[in-house]
Structures are given as structure tokens and as C-alpha cells.
Symmetry: C2
Subunit: 254 residues, 2 copies
């Protein structure tokens, strides 16, 4: 254990509540919803109760956000023509993705990756414009806005599962096209199309596991101590591979 | 409602479980943990039970991930000297952030933004290297890897709250420095320092709200229909402001 002999900081100015740990049944419910949440692509077309939708959006809005910026915006897609347009766009992107997947092209072509046509509710989540004003926690990691909104989507997802509703996060779209289609201002950024709705039943395991696309990794292979990969098979400890630039490179490939 | 007359897709190949909605008490527990989770910066130094930590990491590992890539890696920081080094780095970054915040510099300087010294457990979450091999769901939005790992962190955060443990996500660091310090391979990317541990009590409201930094927005201001901002005060519907490029611009400012 590290040296923790330092005194606790002053916290007179803050209000505390004394709620502590949840009871066993409540704790179990939290783990259960985490374990039974699924990325759904099969839906029944029944509409979503507006009161339930409101609760789900409130859950999303109670996510953590860097510097409390609350960057998330939610667009309900209710126009059938607009829904059809999004469906066609995503379908075309799935084909482009299949082509980009080389030897796995046929497999990607066959996968059902969205439920835009069937889901009772269709939402687009976007980052708002004007985010450059928020510097706290983002001076060196500006992408924390995206992470905040992802936490919001995960809240929504878990709450939906508890309500018995399925959800799927679709990222098969061109963000420029979607931003223009939904008349977003410059600087706003659509990051998710969410299919939300009733389902016949939830998958027992992640769909991409059931279809043989991939397996869940063993957790112990993903946990290191003090330095990368120490004790793992892939590299000798202390092999001293030179670290490269860690600048977030996600966009470099697009 | 959109036209939902289309038949449901074939799903014979998939296994379903028939779990449906949670009972009222379990649903309530899910909403409660979402509402009572806080970004904590005040900790007691007691150690975290290793079995609890294992459950929390399992919860993180059960997050959704784009193309089932499971990009997350977790580094436990147990060396006291390394912990002290991270603390000093974050402290210096807080000063640089304060300077970058102009008129709010003094306020940023005063905020307690991390509990690295006190928290019972210190974790770094990073994206693994070799992510360019994963194209499904990332051809147009490569940053979905970051979103997946953020969902994992949110799972961990909620599970910790149910266990009575506080957590804080610290993003005040230079990712290049942290990657090198932890001997990460080229292409890996550290996205979070997580302070995790016992707390005296949880904040009643977000700390940045209690200190007057900002307020929670009204949800209805964040929800639009079919197009950005329709019906909101900020712009006339149909004002037709030309949308700009929606390329994710987070990195442009760094």
C-alpha cells in the first residue's frame, strides 16, 4: 500500500449524505443489469411509453461529465421519412464496412447490425456545439466530452434493460451526413444512433459472441500492475520496447 | 409513429433468454445507483477489498464494445513512488489548466480535483494497442473504441457506488507522459486515472454544482425532435444556419 499518512483535505464547504453501500438485493440488481444488458438489434415494433422514455433520458442526463459540461443532446426521430433515410444510409455504410473488412466481408454483410426499421423509438445522441469553451479536464484530453456522453448512453442502456427495453448503439454512419441531415450547427457532432424498444427476448450472450465473431477475453489478461503487460506472455518484462506517441490516434485512420 | 409494418427479421440462429423487465425494487436500485453515483475527490485511505475490486473490474469488462473489441486495459498502481509521481504530474497539470481558464484561474486553482494521494486504490484505464485492426462500427467513427471504454468505466463507477465505494475520473494529465511512465506500447492510449476507495460520505449533489461552478441543465432543453433545436429559444426553427463539417474536432484544440 502507498503511504496514506497524509491528512484528509478540508471539506467543510461540501455537503455530504451518509448513504454508504447498498443492501445486498440492491447491489445484486446493479450487477444483474450490468450483466444482462445487451446490444440489441432485434425489436418488436410496439411504441415506448413516453413516461419510460422520460426516465431513460433523465438517467442519461445524470451521467458524469468532464467539468460538468453536460455535452449531450438527444434528437428523437419521429418522422417516418427521416427514419427511412437513416435506415438507408446505415445500410449503405454496412456495405462499405463489409468491403473494408476484407476476408470477413461476407460475414459482415450477413450480420444484423441495427434495428432502425423496427425499434419503437429512434434517438440520435450528439455532442453540442461550443465545446471549446470547456477547458477543465479537457486541456490535454479534449475527447473527454465524448467519454462523458458515452457514460450517459451507458446509463440509458442500463435503465432501459431494467425497464425491459432493448437498445442498440449504431455507429455505421457518416457523421457529416447525419449532422447535415438533422440540421446540426457547426461544431455539433453526432456520435450515436440508438435503436430503443421492446424485444421478444434478450440475447443470452452478446450477439457477436453467439454468431462466433469473437469471444470475451479473460479478465486477468487485461489487468496489469504498475506497468504495461507485466507478467503477461506477450512480452518479456523489462524488454523495454520504446513507447511511441500516445496522442489519441482514432481519427488518423478515417 | 413510423411505419413499422415490416416483418421482424429472421433470428433463428440466436439464443434468447426471457428475462424481460426487472421487478420494481430492482428497477428502483438501478435508478438509485445512477442518481447517487458521484465523481468523488475526497477519500478515506482504507484499502479496497481485493474481491470487491475483482467484481468492479468484471463489471467494467461487461461493458458494450464496438465490434466486441474490448479495447480496455487496467493498470493497478501499487508502487508508492509511482503513485507520488502521478500525483505530482496531475497537480502540475491542474496549475496549467488554471492558467488556461483565464478569469476562472483562481477558482480552478482552489478546486480539489483528484484524490490520488488518499484513495485506497489507483487505476489507470488505457486503450490497447493494435486497434486499427478493428473496423466494424469504426470505419467512419474510429473514436468508438474510446466510447466503449468509457462505458466500461461507467459500469465500474456504478458498481463501486453500490458497494459503497467512491470513484473519481481524473483527466488532468498528459497522455504521452503517462503512456511512457507506464511503459505502454506504441498505439496504446491512457484515458483515465481512477481514484477508487472508501469515502466518509458521498456528496449530495455533484461537487462542481455544490461549489457553484455550474448547474445541471433542464433536460427538456437538451431534447430535440427530428432536427436540432426545433422549438427551443436559441434559434428560429428553419433559420437554416449552414451546418459545418461534423468531423470530431476534439483534438484540434490540444
Amino acid at each position: 500500500m502507498p503511504d496514506v499518512s497524509s491528512t484528509l483535505p478540508e471539506s467543510d464547504a461540501l455537503e455530504f449524505s451518509d448513504c454508504g453501500a447498498f443492501d445486498a438485493a440492491s447491489r445484486e440488481a446493479v450487477y444483474r443489469v450490468i450483466g444482462e444488458r445487451r446490444d440489441m438489434r432485434h425489436f418488436r415494433p410496439d411504441p415506448v411509453d413516453p413516461e419510460v422514455l422520460q426516465r431513460l433520458l433523465e438517467a442519461a442526463h445524470h451521467a458524469p461529465s468532464v467539468g460538468y459540461m453536460q455535452p449531450w443532446r438527444f434528437l428523437r426521430i419521429v418522422d417516418p421519412a427521416l427514419r427511412a433515410s437513416l435506415r438507408a444510409h446505415v445500410s449503405a455504410e454496412q456495405e462499405r464496412t463489409a468491403e473494408a473488412c476484407g476476408e470477413k466481408a461476407a460475414e459482415v454483410h450477413r450480420l444484423k447490425l441495427e434495428g432502425i426499421r423496427e425499434a419503437g423509438e429512434l434517438l440520435v445522441v450528439a455532442l453540442t456545439d461550443g465545446r471549446e469553451r470547456y477547458v477543465l479536464g479537457r486541456r490535454t484530453l479534449p475527447e473527454m466530452d465524448l467519454c462523458s456522453a458515452a457514460c450517459g448512453i451507458q446509463n440509458l442502456w442500463l435503465a432501459a434493460r431494467a425497464e425491459g427495453l432493448g437498445m442498440g448503439w449504431v455507429s455505421l454512419f457518416d457523421p457529416d451526413w447525419l449532422a447535415q441531415t438533422l440540421h446540426m450547427p457547426e461544431g455539433a457532432y453526432p456520435m450515436a444512433i440508438l435503436c430503443l424498444g421492446h424485444v421478444e427476448a434478450f440475447y443470452d450472450r452478446p450477439m457477436l459472441e453467439q454468431t462466433g465473431w469473437d469471444q470475451r477475453r479473460t479478465l486477468s489478461d487485461l489487468v496489469f500492475q504498475d506497468r504495461w503487460d507485466q507478467g503477461a506472455d506477450r512480452a518479456e518484462p523489462g524488454s523495454g520496447a520504446a513507447p511511441g506517441s500516445a496522442a489519441y490516434a482514432g481519427k488518423d485512420r478515417s
